[in-house]
Amino acid sequence: MKEEIFISGRNIPHIDPHLAIWEFPISLYLFLGGLSAGILLFSAFTHLLNKDEELKGASKWAPLIVPFALAIGLFALIIDLGNPFYSWKLYTTIRLESPMSWGAWVLLIVTPLSILWIFSDLRKLFPKLNYTKLPFLFKVEDFCVKYKKQMALALIPLTIILGIYTGILLSAFNARPLWNNAILGPLFLVSGLSTAAATIILFAKSAHERHLFSKIDVLLIVIELGLIIHLIMGYYAGNEMQVEAVKILVGGDLTTLFFGFFVALGLLLPLVLEVFELMGFKVPVVVPAILIIVSGLIFRVLMVEAGQITRILY
């Protein structure tokens, strides 16, 4: 038996008995970041493939929520800082080694870009909008319409970086064995895309679009499941600390949440429902979509919390 205790009664808030420095706001930030990245990525692709009109949900409607999602996400991040009023100091330097740093920079670029992106179509969606009192907005609109393709080309790499970043932010910490796994970046990207596809289903304006994104989502969920298996196998194939860490997900305190709520209710059930729907059964399409979106958030809450419970043993 090995017993390890603190003699001098360490009981620092949010550090002991295990880290809880990052709480729900960070999970929400990662979730909204991934969701926004996914929506923008799909939107950019539809534009580049000239499917704007055919896939209005993806190209025009779903992106409307992105600036708000990003704003809420950034707000969540900032209130989670110890020194929120100093958050501008993130932009005094670019630190490529620090995911927090380049993530902040990517967001700084993507957020205004997302506003410009939806601005190009805003009056088409809301015909009553009138900029006569702010005439310069017409010029902005002209600019957005004129450079939409370039924006799309820029968005593709930026949103992929943003999507991966939400995972790498965690996997960059080798002090937290559960996070320190190279699959986390792609997994978070795919999960973000999947929640984005589900959101687009909710916004879809035609059965055709709904079906298309159901198919895409089925594919993404299958990939995500593959990555999760890969993730778990990776821990088992890892060192003692990773083997110890994965116990928290498999047979530990968070097993129900992970397998029950995330894998079963959040991935497998919507997968089955969407497949049924594609096969022609009548399934209310909102159900799998919402399950996917909620489970995406649960997944991030879970990973943020579980990762902080695991530590390097010495």
């Binding site: 390890e4 808030p13 800082l81 110890g82 620090s98 740093s101 910490f173 080798n174």
Partner: protein, 178 residues
């Protein structure tokens, strides 16, 4: 110049004087600490042994906290001491997450991240860190490892020793004599 701390676990009694000395020297708020003492028990009665370790920031050569800091608040100064620049720190917590030793905490009043400084303000004046200077068992040593005549260099040359979480690859600068 390479400052290291060498701690003799064979002499440490776990009294935690180092902890309270640090707290009073550095105005660490009540309920928080920059150093702490761990007891590790191995074996089965009566074949049982304990190791007592005064732990703190390891002032790693390859410091993950410095790498993951988005604002360059965490930095390494000459001699290898890892510090947090309180004017740059935004309290994002990335360094806290990155530290394998859980050596950092968020200051409850200032919002910035705080941790052991090797008492840099004392070291500048040629004094030992507060924890070292107070230890009733004299089990802690501080000095320049690059100076082969220093007590720390001699102890590491003569005695069996280890560092914590070597596999994390951080190249820590706090050594434990075992």
């Amino acid at each position: 110049m390479r400052y290291v701390m060498v701690i003799d676990t064979l002499k440490c009694v776990g009294c935690s004087d180092c902890v309270v000395a640090c707290q009073t020297e550095n105005d660490v708020p009540t309920g928080y600490c920059r150093d702490w003492v761990t007891e590790s028990v191995t074996g089965t009665y009566p074949e049982v042994d304990i190791e007592l370790r005064s732990e703190r920031c390891n002032h790693c050569d390859n410091a993950p906290c410095v790498r993951t800091c988005p604002t360059e608040a965490s930095h390494i100064i000459e001699g290898g001491i890892v510090l947090v620049d309180r004017d740059l720190c935004i309290g994002c917590g990335a360094c806290i997450e990155s530290c394998p030793y859980d050596a950092r905490y968020r200051h409850p009043d200032l919002g910035i991240v705080d941790k052991c400084t090797f008492c840099v303000h004392r070291v500048k004046k040629g004094q030992d860190p507060a924890c070292v200077s107070v230890c009733p068992t004299n089990c802690m040593y501080f000095g320049d490892l690059d100076d082969s005549n220093s007590k720390v260099a001699q102890l590491l040359a003569e005695r069996k020793h280890k560092v914590l979480a070597k596999e994390a690859g951080t190249s820590p600068n706090v050594y434990y004599l075992i």
